[in-house]
Symmetry: none
Subunit: 385 residues, 2 copies
């Protein structure tokens, strides 16, 4: 892509560079809208940007996320992405559907049922609306947080309603794929229940754990990695999260009540182990078993999370090897691995500072494990169990 | 350090290489004992290792954590580090104090008051005992998880009791400093209250959030980074954590009850926003304010955490690059990196399913960043911001 100078030229380019997607209008240039524009620009598609805030709009434009329209109005976009804050998403979708009667309109709000309900109440043209939610984000908000690769390897949920035209769903699916994401179709209710567990619950609990640090005085100096990880998302924007939680109140309430029941069991078990009174050995054993049960359930739940990007847990095996203290050792290794035809899916290296040794862990498809171990054997490297 | 062959020589070395610390005996070669041995070895001090498990002992020795004693007995160590599981720590400390009547004895158990109470009951020689707790760990256990830099930049809590000889406290403080940690002195009760908030609470809540994934069905496919971070420590060993939570029941119960009160307020607010019944606009506003309050308290608590390693934030920088879809790409890369003289401290690769591309993140010391970026540039690889 060369830098463009005239709007006429851009209008032409906009239509012709990608006849799969057509011309694209992005409404809302925060983190997600800007990232979509940046990702499209990288793929050779220039979107037209719009935002109620001139500041955010110009910033996204300057960052390379797309072109400015001449005023608010734009000639017949084929695909409109509404990436506004969630509390105005439905109203903006209604307005865009009415203003551009041929366009496919999608959104990126993280709760889908409430948007759909409001569109129904407003008698919007649901045939052209495809609810969407890319499963990607950052604690950082605004255009400056935008990244063209934000969606790569992520799921992008599409929630067609009954009247939705399947060709419109496919249109938005092409957008998701163009940005490196994998479209997944489900109902709005299925989506909302899922995100209550995998996104909204972790957010609430991270905030509640972080809030306990306010009473901790100088104890926070003892903080290690665990509390940092658990509370990372507690840095998120409260205003945005109030909107999300309020819009998804039913599923979130259900999962919070389930967690509270588990918490009550842990509190009872810990309470039984307190120093205050005598406790029978049977009661002590029961309390320890209850605690072990809660922790073991956590092990099992954690193990259900799919591989970092994928859908196939257990398909991969991890081989761990001690990297020798010699210059270029990693280069030798990966050249040998490639020569053996082994495809490394994930890897991590922890170096042992002070020397060049390190512990290298490589994930490979299970059938490739033996070949990889043979490579290490040939190199004379020690595999760890 | 050259590999040593004779125990006589080692005995001599052991005493003479570091007259600050004297000869050191490490009892228990799991994650922490092995890491202490590795860190000391790097600093030129060879410890003598002991473990009830011959397998763990030999593994720690093979990894370079220290020397094997000739049998269980060792001639007059000056400093003994008890790094056993917490439920036997007090008993092992009692035995070591009795067996070696001149040695300073410390431990690394993550709860301090219960150990001290048991030592008092056993009438142990508290003048020579210094309770310790290095604020470092990993979800991985065992010698293979050991790292010489595990304690660098971390706090190492020391909890002298009333009778403890100040010279013994200084002895253990020298050990902590030698391993790169910062000694912090406090009472056992102060320590136990602090870790209830910054360590034990996050562990319990991570487990409870992870446990909710067991009922989530295929929803886990939508998991993003937030739930991964919140639940990372849920992979920890339940057996170890039952011991820790039981040993610290009083402070843990207090902080869990405080969190439950906050959770009840959130549950009430979300409940008020549910779709079931009509709600007045005043009640709706009150519910939203309650949610915003919980989330804002989380922001404030999160902001109280000190920088990542406490002392030296920003020493490392991460360079992220898109690995091209070509055979042997990693081999080419690491050969070029080695040739440029760049030392990679840590790296991680996330592959993008369906093709051989991936996102590679490399941590390097800040001054090496430019050299690394130049390598990528030369290779024609795209660095991500």
């Amino acid at each position: 892509m060369s830098a463009a100078t005239g709007l006429d030229i851009l209008d032409t380019l906009e239509v012709r560079t990608d006849d799969d997607l057509g011309s694209i209008r992005i409404v809302g240039t925060g983190l997600l809208g800007t990232s979509i524009g940046l990702g499209l620009a990288r793929a050779g598609v220039r979107a037209r940007l719009h935002d109620a805030s001139p500041h955010a709009l110009l910033l996204a434009h300057d960052l390379g996320a797309g072109d400015l329209g001449s005023g608010d109005r734009q000639d017949d976009p084929d695909l409109i992405v509404v990436a506004t804050p969630p509390d105005v998403t439905a109203a903006v979708v209604v307005a865009e559907l009415a203003r551009y009667p041929n366009a496919t309109v999608t959104d990126v709000a993280s709760v889908k049922h409430s948007v759909l309900r409001e569109l129904g109440e407003q008698r919007a043209d649901l045939r052209r609306y495809v609810g969407g939610h890319p499963m990607a984000g950052r604690e950082r908000s605004g255009p400056l947080g935008g990244r063209p690769d934000l969606f790569e390897g992520r799921a992008w949920v599409l929630c067609p309603a009954g009247p939705t035209d399947p060709a419109r769903v496919e249109h938005v699916a092409r957008l998701a794929r163009r940005l490196g994401a994998t479209p997944r179709t489900m109902t709005a209710s299925q989506h909302d229940s899922a995100v209550a567990v995998v996104s909204h619950l972790p957010q609430v609990m991270a905030s509640l754990v972080a809030a306990r640090l306010n009473d901790a005085g100088p104890s926070v100096a003892l903080a290690g990695q665990a509390v940092r990880d658990v509370t990372r998302v507690a840095a998120s924007d409260p205003g945005l999260w109030v909107q999300i939680l309020a819009a998804n109140a039913d599923p979130v309430a259900d999962v919070l009540l389930a967690l509270r029941a588990d918490l009550d069991a842990v509190v009872a078990a810990i309470g039984a182990l307190r120093g205050a009174g005598p406790i029978s050995s049977a009661d002590r054993a029961a309390a320890r078993i209850a605690l072990a049960g809660a922790l073991t359930a956590g092990n099992a739940g954690r193990a259900r999370l799919p591989g970092k990007h994928g859908d196939r847990p257990g398909a991969y095996e991890v081989v761990t090897v001690l990297v020798p203290d010699s210059p270029g050792a990693l280069g030798v290794l990966f050249t040998a691995v490639a020569r053996a035809g082994v495809n490394v899916e994930e890897l991590s290296l922890e170096s042992l500072p002070g020397n060049a040794r390190g512990v290298l862990a490589l994930s490979v498809l299970a059938p490739a494990r033996a070949a990889l171990e043979a490579v290490f054997d040939t190199c004379g490297w020690r595999t760890l169990s």
